[in-house]
Symmetry: C2
């Protein structure tokens, strides 16, 4: 395995790029000329294979194959096939992962299904710095089924689970700080307290080395439009460990989760595995793009990709320290998700200035500038150049007062 | 308005085609050479504008615009804009319709939200011949929230609503028979009994002249991949009458239904109108195809399109009567959805024989052959030729015994 070090000069960064075992993967993406894209934690760029897949699915399979493509082009099997390929990225068995719906919808399904598994089925737990939609969905579920919601302090979800039991919804990588949770430790606490964790892998899948089996995780969902590069709003996935699948009831019991959807029976009889969490007819064009995007990962070891992502982040953190820019992300050598959040009271204006220079990062109120480092297409020299530009902006621009503003873009 | 009569010869059918005010609409579709496509009640063919839209959304907006396209390409506004254009097809106000998720998911949201509106909030009602996923979803919701489910006999949902109150889920057009329900009559019964109807417009939208406002309908969802031609698994829509929207709580309270999704607040605060029924991030590529498909409808009066669809169906029913083929669909001159179901104990084999001749229809066990007549691209001569071929198959083929089989294709 390649040992990615922190380069001390642009030349050293270029040497790392030259020796990078993942260097050729970048060619598999469509990347606009001159753009330095550091926003893959929000929306991944287009793999050429994803663009080809969506062209084929629309212009050929739909336009010419029409209804026959449900069988002939394999549309019926896409959710489980794509799920099986995502499984390899998160340390799961292929049949335990299915692509369906959005993370929001899947969190609802999994948390509702988890309640009867938990010792104390009257408690839902979410941390107060959890990604907002996770909080909203759990709030909505709690109101619907009359279950109380505990809003734990940041980092105290597991302690609340140990104390109260119930169901905890928890991101593996925090969307703001990129802090990575110890999944095994959490699962031990959950299983000792007869509690259940529903993992959100949105900011983790495709960039850190998730190992659901080793961690003993039972339920998870995640997003595919960030580091998996599945396209804008690409459908999410559900992971269910096979030995609990048969005990679980999806509350959204749509026909695609039925054991025999085309028998048109009146009573619901779910599939055996994770596929029972499918609901309605999947959006085939978006799903085809995701399926094409997964081709990029087929030859990649997540262990190597994760090491490179951490090294890219380390370089960012090291350069930021030289500029006296504080970060809320884990430091050099620590476990960290694919992005780094640097703080500045004029963060919004600074990110706008970077974007004007074709360096794409994003901003989260009130003061976090997020830089995302996908190991598949970001180079060490890219990080170096972006930090050079950031340093230049800080040295040459001044602001009378902080310009707080909300950036409207999808996380 | 054109008076479409039943042609008594192929020449008469050709004359109708020549004089058809919708004749030129056919050119806006990509239709495979030599294929006679009568399966638009299952999956509509590709409008050229839909193919162009998905090419632009993937190859340009995603590939080059990347994250900026959420604002610059208007992705954020697509669900409400597409909803507003569907509104015109179903007699609704533009702001009362939003595109999101699947029919299955939307039925769950609407039925759950309707329960507190209904006098007797302990009852869900569905008819036993309702489309299966509608039955499954209501069964799942009932189990989750502990509300009893009444399975009424076919056509007796309104009577059950009058007797018990509660929430009835009801298709406007039956998926098997194409029978059309009197929506106004149903709504009167619902409102007299303080009950609520959640309408499923899946087999109605884009082919019959739905008028939600006149009918007094409050809640509806529907599919866009059939007669709206939005593409395989295209996202569905939700209709909520504006004067009840503020009273309704979506149980799937995802961030896209939040009044300010990018404020990243911890508490849920829904949007004012139907858009509060959005949940997660929408599948933009599939949504873009739908948006492109809606261009076809922009110059079309649904009144005229519906009259043509009924006339095409009348011709099918008339020809079937000459062959002594029984139908379970409404007769000539009666109100009927866009398809006709003809019965034959060897229906499966007959449909396979038609498909082998490039005449695409479908089959529903045990004996229903379904022929769909979209007014946008089906010609009177197409119906004539398909019925000629059917007559020929019946006259020349024989089967030892009925060959029952389930056809695996998405309704």
């Amino acid at each position: 395995m390649m040992n990615y070090s922190i380069p001390a000069s642009r030349d050293a960064a270029a040497t790392l790029d030259r020796d990078d075992p993942l260097a050729s993967v970048r060619d598999r993406f469509h990347l606009p000329d001159g753009m330095l894209y550091l926003d893959g934690h929000s929306l991944g760029p287009a793999p050429k294979s994803a663009l080809a897949a969506v062209t084929g699915a629309s212009g050929q399979e739909w336009a010419n194959g029409l209804i026959r493509s449900w069988n002939d082009a394999g549309w019926m099997d896409l959710p489980l096939k794509a799920g099986g390929r995502i499984a390899r990225l998160i340390g799961a068995e292929p049949q335990d992962v299915i692509v369906c719906d959005s993370v929001s919808i899947n969190l609802f399904k999994l948390a509702a299904a988890a309640l009867p598994l938990a010792k104390n089925s009257d408690t839902l737990i979410v941390e107060e710095d959890e990604f907002p939609t996770d909080q909203y969905i759990i709030e909505g579920l709690g109101n619907l089924v009359g279950v109380k919601l505990i809003r734990a302090k940041a980092g105290e979800g597991a302690a609340a689970l140990a104390e109260h039991g119930g169901v905890l919804v928890k991101s593996v990588v925090n969307y703001r700080t990129a802090t990575v949770v110890d999944m095994s430790e959490h699962e031990q606490i959950a299983q000792q307290s007869d509690g259940v964790i529903v993992w959100d892998l949105s900011h983790a899948t495709g960039v850190i080395d998730v190992d659901l089996k080793t961690a003993g995780a039972r339920l998870a969902t995640g997003c595919t439009y960030k580091y998996v590069n599945g396209g804008p709003g690409a459908p999410a996935f559900v992971y269910v460990k096979s030995d609990v699948a048969a005990e679980l009831t999806s509350p959204l019991s749509g026909w695609m989760g039925h054991a025999s959807p085309f028998e048109f029976t009146s009573r619901y009889s779910p599939k055996d595995n994770a596929a029972r969490f499918s609901a309605g007819t999947p959006p085939i064009l978006s799903l085809s793009a995701l399926s094409g995007a997964l081709n990029v990962f087929d030859a990649i070891e997540m262990r190597i990709a994760a090491a490179k992502a951490r090294a890219l982040g380390d370089l960012c953190v090291a350069r930021a320290a030289q500029m006296d820019l504080p970060t809320i992300s884990p430091g050099i050598g620590e476990n960290r998700g694919g992005h780094v959040s640097l703080l500045h009271e004029n963060g919004y204006a600074i990110v706008q200035a970077l974007i004007a220079d074709n360096i794409i990062a994003d901003f989260r109120a009130p003061d976090a500038m997020r830089f995302g480092f996908s190991p598949l297409y970001v180079r060490f020299t890219d990080v170096w150049d972006a930090m050079d530009r950031l340093e230049n902006i800080l040295a040459t621009r001044s602001w009378d007062k902080p310009q707080f503003k909300t950036q409207s873009a999808v996380t």
